[in-house]
């Protein structure tokens, strides 16, 4: 995945066939989590905040639903990736970059939570968890490229 052009809030990336398949794989894993990554408060009054914890869970569920809709539209759209001699081109707006970053991070963090919030990932690859670890790293790779593109344009 390589940025080949950026202007007026439009970004054009070049993908190899393999990269396209990996991005599709990562997006198909969404959503990987199913609740808040942390409580609303660690030290607040639990009774007072109980209703607010529910509101947080509802807000996150609503966002996952909306992002699922966007992911389905993204993956299902004909011509999203245009083929050329050296692979594929993908055109993204700034807004699409932002939600793609959130979706990829949701997959990365969601898998991490499912793995038991380990401090290190490498040892898990040796204990039969290699698929989740690889997917997390794929998400990180695409996140890094998207962030670099946003940073270079600003």
């Amino acid at each position: 995945m390589r940025l080949v052009g950026a202007s007026d809030g439009q970004f054009v990336f070049r993908f190899s066939k393999r990269e396209r398949a990996l991005l599709t794989h990562a997006l198909q894993m969404f959503p990987a989590g199913n609740g808040p990554v942390a409580p609303l408060s660690k030290g607040g009054d639990e009774q007072k905040l109980a209703e607010h914890e529910l509101l947080l869970a509802e807000a996150l569920a609503e966002q996952r639903k909306e992002h699922r809709r966007l992911v389905d539209a993204f993956l299902g759209e004909q011509g999203r990736f245009t083929e050329d001699k050296s692979g594929f081109r993908l055109r993204l707006t700034t807004a699409q970059m932002h939600w793609l970053l959130q979706v990829l991070n949701e997959v990365r963090v969601g898998l991490w939570v499912k793995l038991g919030r380990p401090a290190e990932l490498a040892p898990l690859a040796l204990t039969g968890q290699i698929e989740s670890v690889v997917t997390m790293e794929i998400c990180a790779l695409f996140q890094t490229r998207l962030l670099a593109a946003l940073s270079s344009s600003s």
């Binding site: 808040p36 409580p39 607040g44 947080l56 807000a59 996150l60 970053l101 991070n105 949701e106 963090v109």
Partner: protein
Amino acid sequence: MVGVIENSAGCSYLHRVATIIELPDVVREEETKSKENLDPGYLVICWDDPVNLMDYVTHAFQIVFGWKKEKAEFHMLEVHEKGSSVLARESMERAEFYVHELQKHQLHATMEPAR
């Protein structure tokens, strides 16, 4: 003030009318609440974790708070090096809003009563 007043014969003439405006008394309260009685609000705190990418955390702070990159990076590094960073001190409603937005980016953010 200059006014036009008409007499009984139908003639009018200029007449100076003095107006006295009574201003209400202003009672100034020296103190409404002691500092101890003011609501201390809530701190919005982001905690370190081993999963979120440093550049992504900076990006999320910029989006959620509208900060410039330098300020967002300062807080990201504080999270990374010290284990947490206080991002804001707000009313309960506002702190809750920020925690929602940060958690929508999968950041480990909470709101804690300010002391």
